[in-house]
């Protein structure tokens, strides 16, 4: 700009020149300023882009990192309750950890303020005097015999007592919570340490607004039921309440003095029309054949179909009580080394796993697994799925969480620790804050935020703890985990369910696998089509056609992926399912038809061929394509009948011979082998002979050669497939398996539709950017268009084409809606083209709306985002490095 040339020749008339043409040779300061400003703005903009990307990554890391924290526990608050002369059998605490209840064997309840240990007046189960009391109970004097057995449900609200006279009484022991206006507070309240108030009967907590929460213990005792014969004491008892809120099922198991086990259940059914409840009670005997002195404990599950009896020699006897009238011994399993006494046994939340602690200081988790075993009556075997290794001392008391797979154990010395079953770790040891003393009862607070241990001397230790994400560790997210009920350790994603009792399974491996699987298969379809299309448009197509084709292809990219997904899932998938055999062979038939037409085209006399170049040729190819599709549709059923036993889908599930599909897979390889060999064998001499023939005659020779080589390729593939099939190779179980309507093939079609325009567009631009002189030089030296494209243009544009593929891959990895709609989102780990997948991005889309903020699932979904981010970051960085190398080479041209 600064040395602008003068249009006119210099004239002697300096005046005129200076008036009309005089220009400052210095750049104007405004231009310089604008230049500088633009430079700065672009720099700042670029800096912000990088900053934003890092900020996003930092945010993802920020949210995901707490998943790997272990949590903290407070020091123990210690105080002593005067429990002289009482045999404490159970403890309860409300969900606010404010009111504690001690139940002693005679039915007396001690209520106390948990933070301070201050006692408030207690209640008692009045075993002597209750409606419908057994006639034999000593009602007159008001003093009934103390219970000989006791059980409570996991939630702790329901209790059962067994008596020496063979009766059982069910009851409930609840801490009622209600919000009342502050004005309704009784007059005689006293303030407890910490600000809570009590009137001696209930505890009042301050909550937001002018209201208080009242916590009050409540007991209820039902009429006694004669379970064992008159006068036979009940020795062991277990009690469960299941069913739904509308239809509770109460089940209890009892073992009497003589060793007879019984299963009793009360099944309530509510008629919604009238609101009436009818209760059906059943009572059946389970023959155990065990001596009562050998029995350590009895455990029942909520549905009442499984009864476990543990004995003092470390054995457990499992009874199948699905059909109560025909209860049978299903299995006898040695849980601990022979002769080792179990010190504590309890079900984990969900009742599918058993915590077993032994006198040999062992602690392990057992689950019932379907092993199709001959040794047990139902094929299921109790199997050790987690082992915590030797503990410092034998665990004597266990308390389990009502929501998660956490549990606490107190050992013989009185040390209390928190464990997590799924991740198989001792999460933390509670600081004792003084001398250890043996524990009488132990409770884990309902919200998994505190623990209470009552010593045999009445010493109470109260801890609060915060372990927000016990179920996630690096090992559980990325490694194999043995989940309860599963035949072997594995990678599973099954994050939530409608209830708290399910074990969350958060393995990212199936999701990462699904992402990679979807991306690879969609690129397998997209890359050849997109690249060949780009080469054809850039190098062969008539410029007028090109002017139409390119914008149309780019229009394809603007289709929203949700639309593609919807069409693919609801329209394409049933069609593909009906025509699956035709579609599989179409991968061979359509290219063959097109190549065949290309050879036929060569038969045309040269002037005709030249005249029909351009639009007519394109139309001819289009017709050939239609012909190919039609041929595939005609051949599909024939091939299906001839080679796949008449039903391709049934074949994918495992019927019929493996060879035909191997043949199809080998066909492209066989073509490459035959044509490269045939090209060498019939190379120079063949071309010399062709040169002497007229154009269309040479075309006929070429057609003949192509047909011959194609038949040879088919024969080679068939031979190889027969040999491989005979040797036991089978694609089924590998890249094909049982056909499912929504599958990876369908999703790949959809994804290819989204990816092709991107790869095509960038690759075409890259090819177009190759300097024209290279093309001219190559053509000028006598190379054909194809030779020029394949050996000159393509290598030069390599870097651009590589980045086109990489950007396509990035799009396929991050694609969400097509995968969500077309695949069925099944988190499976196999390469089959005919079943689904669950990608990281789809998983985030499906599950984020339901995730409670800051829950483990919420953070795991952010971790999914981080993994996706890292995957694309690594991919793009690699792509850039390779591209730079390519470009350097191309720049030397």
């Amino acid at each position: 700009m600064t040395d602008a040339t003068m249009p006119d020749a210099p004239t002697p008339d300096g005046m005129r020149r200076s008036v009309v043409y005089r220009r400052d040779k210095k750049t104007k300061s405004s231009v310089l300023l604008a230049d500088k400003l633009a430079g700065r703005i672009i720099t700042i903009g670029g800096f912000f882009v990088i900053l934003t990307v890092f900020a996003i990554m930092l945010f993802l890391v920020w949210v995901a990192v707490p998943l790997f924290g272990s949590g903290t526990a407070s020091d123990a608050t210690r105080y002593k309750l005067d429990l002289t002369g009482e045999h404490v059998i159970s403890t309860s605490v409300d969900e606010y950890r404010t009111l504690g209840l001690e139940l002693s064997q005679d039915g007396k309840l001690t209520a106390f303020h948990v933070p301070s240990g201050r006692r408030i007046s207690g209640l008692a189960f009045d075993f002597a005097n209750a409606p419908g009391a057994n006639a034999n109970a000593n009602t007159g004097t008001g003093a009934a015999a103390a219970p000989t057995a006791f059980a409570r449900t996991l939630q702790g609200d329901d209790v059962a007592f067994g008596f020496p006279d063979g009766t059982v009484r069910l009851g409930s022991l609840a801490i009622d919570s209600a919000i009342v206006p502050a004005a309704a507070l009784p007059a005689n309240v006293t303030t407890l340490p910490g600000g809570d108030r009590t009137d001696g009967v209930a505890i009042y907590l301050n909550v937001a607004g002018k209201q208080v929460r009242r916590l009050q213990p409540a007991v209820k005792l039902e009429a006694s039921a004669q379970v064992a014969p008159q006068g036979t004491p009940i020795r062991f008892l277990d009690y469960r309440v299941g069913g739904t809120e509308e239809r509770p099922v109460k089940t209890f198991a009892s073992i009497d003095e003589k060793g007879t086990a019984r299963l009793s259940s009360a099944y309530a059914q509510v008629n919604m029309m009238t609101g009436e409840t009818s209760t059906t009670i059943s009572n059946t005997e389970v023959p155990t054949g065990l001596n009562v002195a050998d029995i350590a404990s009895v455990l029942l599950n909520t549905s009442g179909d499984r009864l476990l009896v543990a004995t003092n020699d470390g054995m457990v006897h499992r009874f199948d009580t699905r059909d109560p009238a025909h209860a049978r011994l299903a299995e006898t399993e040695q849980l601990l080394p022979a002769g080792v006494k179990p010190t504590a046994i309890a079900y984990l939340n969900g009742e599918n796993s058993l915590i077993v602690a032994g006198a040999d200081k062992s602690l392990s988790i057992w689950s019932q697994i379907d092993r199709k075993s001959q040794k047990t009556a139902d094929g299921n075997v109790l199997t050790k799925i987690h082992d915590f290794g030797p503990q410092p001392a034998p665990i004597e008391h266990l308390a389990v969480s009502q929501r998660t797979r956490l549990f606490i154990g107190a050992d013989a010395r009185g040390e209390v620790a928190l464990y997590h079953a799924t991740t198989e770790r001792r999460v933390l040891t509670f600081p004792s804050g003084g001398k250890l003393s043996p524990v009488a009862t132990l409770i884990l607070a309902p919200r998994d935020n505190g623990a209470l241990a009552i010593g045999k001397d009445g010493e109470v230790r109260n801890w609060s703890f915060d372990v927000p994400h016990p179920e996630t560790t690096i090992a559980s997210l990325f490694g194999k985990v043995w989940y309860e009920g599963y035949p072997a350790p594995g990678y599973t994603w099954q994050s939530t369910s409608g209830t708290d009792s399910a074990e969350p399974k958060l393995s990212l491996v199936p999701l990462i696998f699904g992402t990679i699987k979807g991306a690879i298969y969609s690129l397998v379809f997209a890359v050849p089509i997109a690249l060949l299309a780009a080469i054809y448009t850039a190098e062969f197509m008539h410029f007028r056609v090109r002017a139409v084709v390119k914008p149309v292809m780019e229009l394809m990219a603007s289709l929203p992926s949700v639309v593609i997904g919807f069409v693919v899932a609801l329209v394409l998938s049933p069609i593909v399912e009906n025509w699956i055999a035709a579609i599989v062979i179409a991968f061979g038939v359509i290219p063959l038809t097109l190549i065949g037409l290309a050879f036929l085209w060569q038969l045309l006399p040269q002037p005709v061929a030249l005249r029909l170049d351009g639009i007519p040729k394109l139309i001819a190819f289009f017709l050939a394509m239609v012909l190919g599709i039609w041929a595939a549709m005609q051949l599909g059923p024939l091939v299906e009948r001839g080679f796949f036993g008449g039903d391709f889908k049934a074949w994918t599930s495992g019927s019929g011979s493996a060879a035909p599909f191997i043949f199809l897979l080998l066909l492209p390889l066989s073509f490459i082998a035959v044509f490269s060999f045939g090209g060498r064998l019939l190379g120079a001499s063949w071309r010399d002979r062709l040169r002497s023939k007229p154009y269309h005659v040479a075309g006929a020779y070429e057609l003949g050669r192509w047909l011959g080589l194609t038949i040879a390729a088919f024969a080679l593939a068939a031979l190889a497939a027969t040999i491989l099939g005979g040797a036991g190779f089978d694609a089924r179980g590998g890249i094909v398996d049982t056909y499912i309507q929504r599958n990876t093939l369908i999703a790949s079609f959809g994804m290819a539709f989204a990816v092709i325009p991107i790869i095509y567009s960038i690759a075409e631009d890259a090819l177009g950017a190759v300097p024209e002189h290279l093309r001219s030089a190559s053509l000028g030296c006598g190379a054909t268009k194809w030779q020029t494209a394949a050996w000159v243009i393509l290598p030069t544009a390599g870097s651009g084409i590589f980045s086109a593929i990489m950007i396509g891959l990035g799009r396929a990895v991050g694609e969400t809606m097509i995968v969500v709609m077309a695949t069925g989102n099944t988190p499976i780990l196999d390469w089959s083209l005919f079943n689904g997948l669950r990608a990281l991005s789809a998983n985030i889309n499906v599950e984020l709306p339901e995730a409670v903020k800051d829950s483990s699932l919420y953070r795991t979904l952010f971790l999914c985002g981080l993994v996706l981010f890292v995957m694309t970051f690594v991919l793009n960085t690699l792509a850039e490095i390779v591209r730079q190398r390519f470009r350097k080479r191309a720049a030397q041209l």
Partner: protein, 321 residues
Amino acid sequence: MKRIGTLLGALAVSISATSAFAIDIDSRYTPYQPTTGVSGSLKSIGSDTLNNLMTLWSEDYRAQYPTVKIEVEGKGSSTAPPALIAGTSQLGPMSRPMKAAEIDSFEQKYGYKPTQVRVAVDTLAIFVHKDNPLTCLSLTQLDGIFSKSRLSGSKAITTWGDLGLTGEWAGKPISLFGRNSASGTYGYFKEVAMVNGDYLDTVKEQPGSSAVVQGVAADKFAMGYSGIGYRTADVKAIQVAGRDGQCVEANQANAYTGAYPITRFLYIYVNKNPSTALDPLRGEFFRYVLSLNGQKDTSKDGYFPMPYVFAQQELGKLGLK
């Protein structure tokens, strides 16, 4: 996608409305009596099972009070608690009761627990293609079909032949459709039919009930579950046998007696301070839902009306009686 779902849903409604099954509404229900002073806007976020019904209710409610605005969004029951807690919605329709952890986080913010209102009865239906000859399945068979844990002790069932079908059906694998895990239906089915076992990895998770029905309608060898309200003419709801082995049809009488084993209530959760009355906007909405008009909408959408006794209990809970 939501819009497409709604579109399909609307289609489903129109079809199920034409093939209406006789549903009795308790004669003790009285028509809704509008009052004055009701205005403002409401937002409902939650269950997809209840999505169409919420839309019906809110349209008819708005017909009573033209100044009221109601927005309904239904992606799954699990989306209801976070929205109620954050205050982005005033109504939380759910097809399962809230989990303890969800109640906790609500209570942490407000100091009291959310109020659960039962608004309709649903029989979770097992759908097969309309040409499928199958008539009845037991809960144990369902466990064998959908579960990989099979905690009820069933054998694995993978083909229609395993269920006793013959001919072209015998060798065909069962193609399974289900809901995504945000759904209360997903959780309820897991709890009742699968004894809390895990779903097979091959169950295709669909974002909405209508997508499940659509999937089953388009795939001859498919089976899926969803609320009965989404039944269309292209699918068949088969009978289910409970503990006693009796095949029971998913109809009103069996829902009320509890004979149909996978019967449940549908809920709307609401943030109600226990010591103050509900504002008229939400109060009148519930009064509408639990009136003759509201329960007619319920049966129009294919669900079963609330038993009168229970409806009165719910109104009492809300302090509206």
